[in-house]
Amino acid sequence: MSRFSTPNPQLNELGKIKHFLTLEGLKQHHLVEILDTAESFINPKTDEIKKVPILRGKTIMNLFFEPSTRTRTTFEIAENRLSADVASLDIATSATKKGESLLDTLWNLQAMQADMFVIRHAESGAAHFFAQHVAPHVHVLNAGDGQHAHPTQAMLDMFTIRKHKGDVFDLKVAIVGDVLHSRVVRSQIQALSILEAREIRVIGPKTLMPTHPEAMGVHYYDNIEEGLNDVDVIIMVRLQNERMKSALIPSEKEFFKLYGLTEKRLALAKPDAIVMHPGPINRGVEIDSAVADGPQSVILQQVTYGIAVRMAVMAIIMSNSAQLAQHQSEQASLELEELAALNPTSENPTVEKA
């Protein structure tokens, strides 16, 4: 029974990224390639991102089954900078329940010559599901699925860390807030592990933590003062309003008292520690304005880097696809040559030409 050893559905037969669904199962070289490629899109002097013709003639469809403004916008900008043809669709989940099945929707759009789908969906595992059912030449990029993964967001965070710290290797990173419901945090933890951060800590009340944080390779702290001690990077997570309604925490005020990032608490980290936040921030809930706007905050840079990182992922996927096609045609002609060598009498015009 091979049910525990199924091959990674994200990789093609050459071991290169085909779909970008989650960071789990990817190797360090995959991540470094993304970071290096993103770097190459940014003008080192001006921080500008130029338009490049890499994806000219390719069609990318952004399918948002869940509302999003920032992620969708940065994807659209990234796609335009790569010169792709872009179509964005907001598909209310109710529409798919009106008789048209989810897969029918997908296959219809696929028939409109899509080369890549960028998908956001409220169900964990949705991106895996779509990747299983698209045509072999179509690629799926996960822009957030339920509480499972948001790999491009995590990669832009790694990019930001690398920009400021040179490398992720050996860093101590603290993630503060709602870990339980956050797909971003799950992906960040995987990215940090793959890039060999020294220690990953998660900080917050037990009600906002998954039952088994150790299964994610992190250390859990319920006390923020202890958790922030001596860290290089602090990642704050946005607190959703629903968490109060479902009785997971008492109030925003109490949360800020217990876990809000203030200047005093920031002083417990290393002096050159950076503060990150995937945005949009709740001032006075998870983070004090003085910290958010302070010298150690890199929050707005994250947004800019998001464009470059998303460009990098899409460019790599399409170039891997071209490489695979090249490889396959070479294999095919090799096989033909072998065949011709075995039967020298048979006349094969294509081999003769070659």
């Binding site: 169900e123 964990s124 949705a126 339920g146 088994h212 299964a215």
Partner: protein, 428 residues
């Protein structure tokens, strides 16, 4: 017609019988077991079952048959054919049909369709509350009159403790076994995966063990207070089995069953988000799985059920959390039990008892045995044949099985219901 099945290893836990002998059937009934045919018996058909087993027709306490309504795939006709292909000749169908089986009319419809199909003995379970809504009590006396063998809430346990108490106290007078599933909806919190390392990693909404154990604790107390015979369905975790063992030790008239897939699968199978592994209650941890296996070996678990839930293809063609839970399980109940015997050291007699004598005693019915005088419901098994489950050859209209591709040892060759052959494996 007089049939003799010769030289078979005949296994019947209710008689503590396990020997190589002959089985004699006349006019649809078992007329004798032994080397010598009963006086005056001359067979006009003989089956040589050397190296084969004969088992009583199995009893399944929980199998959805697709009718009435569109909640599930298939029909009573198709699903009873799937049942006998798995050696099952008696099955209980839970009340989560559409409309809900909370009235004589629905009970009678099910029985009529089953009689028309004439493939297996179908025993309807009536709803404990109207529409399974957990509020108003159903007409339990009428349901019993119509032929319901038990009462249950299917997969929708009563949440309100007062209503539960009243339902149990009213049911005492009806002398029907009450089958309870334990799940606190608030603690379940729409969870689709066991609350553990895998749900933490995959970000699937977690359903903790406590959703089952707190409800079980409540129900055990209410059952004791009401003084009713109660059966707990589809338990999924180690702690629940401990609680049942304690209750039995205290002398409470309680029994329990576990769905067969819980002995073979665990939360680990969810890696990859395959919606075929979406079941309710969810697949638990490896420790829970091992504890369930031990509970079966020790006899704490009285019955094993298929929890057969045939679904349409589209019901599973969705992301994990949006797919419908359930496994089409009639055809793999016995094969998976035999796998426990072959690979996990389960005693064969205990395994067979859990799908014959065990469930029959829970229902208080004279089925699932090979007693002389009883209707001849039995199957002939080739214990050495190996085969692979394939979706194309599944008889159930629901092809939603995570066991497709699994290899099994032990094949149902023929099944007889009321002395008539209702299934023959055409591979022979």
């Amino acid at each position: 017609m007089r049939l003799a099945v010769n030289n078979a290893r005949v296994i019947d836990p209710s008689q503590n019988l396990d020997e190589i002998t002959n089985l004699y059937i006349s006019r649809g009934r078992i007329v004798g077991i032994g080397q010598q045919a009963p006086e005056g018996f001359t067979a006009n058909q003989e089956i040589d079952a050397t190296n084969k087993w004969v088992l009583p027709g199995l009893v399944d306490l929980q199998a959805r048959l697709g009718e009435p309504g569109n909640n599930f795939a298939g029909s009573i006709e198709s699903e009873t054919r799937a049942a006998v292909a798995g050696g099952i000749t008696s099955l209980c169908c839970p009340p989560d049909t559409s409309p809900v089986n909370d009235s004589q009319a629905v009970t009678e419809l099910i029985q009529r369709r089953a009689r028309q199909a004439a493939t297996a003995f179908v025993m309807p379970i009536g709803a404990l509350t109207q529409g399974l809504e957990g509020q108003r009590l159903s007409g339990m006396y009428s349901l019993k009159q119509a032929g319901c063998v038990a009462l249950s809430q299917a997969n929708q346990p009563i949440q309100n403790a007062m209503n539960m108490k009243n339902a149990l106290e009213y049911a005492v007078g009806q002398d029907l076994v009450v089958m309870l599933r334990c799940e606190d909806q608030q603690l379940k919190n729409n969870g689709v995966a066991h609350s553990g390392p895998v749900s933490s990693r995959l970000g699937l909404v977690a359903n903790p063990v406590s959703s089952e154990t707190t409800a079980l604790a409540r129900d055990l107390i209410l059952v004791e207070e009401a003084g009713i015979r109660a059966h707990f369905s589809q338990l999924s975790c180690a702690r629940s089995i401990e609680m049942i063992a304690e209750a039995k030790k205290r002398g409470l008239p309680v029994t329990c069953d576990v769905a067969i897939h819980q002995f073979h699968l665990s939360e680990m199978d969810l890696l990859g988000f395959n919606s075929l592994f979406n079941v309710s209650p969810p697949l638990r941890s490896m420790q829970d799985k091992n504890a369930l296996q031990t509970g079966l070996k020790m006899g704490t678990i009285d019955a094993v059920v298929s929890d057969h839930t045939p679904l349409e293809k589209d019901d599973k063609l969705l992301p994990f959390g949006e797919s419908k839970p359930g496994i089409s399980g009639l055809e793999t109940l016995l094969p998976l039990l035999l796998k426990l015997v072959n690979e996990y050291d389960l005693d064969l007699m205990t395994a067979v008892r859990s799908v014959t004598q065990g469930p029959a005693e829970i229902l208080g019915l004279n089925i699932g045995n090979l007693d002389v005088g009883n209707t001849a419901d039995f199957s002939i098994i080739d214990p050495n044949a190996t085969w692979t489950l394939e979706s194309e050859t599944m008889i159930s209209e629901g092809k939603n099985s995570p066991f497709i591709g699994w290899e099994f040892t032990g094949l149902v060759e023929q099944t007889y219901f009321q002395g008539r052959p209702v299934y023959r494996n055409n591979q022979i």
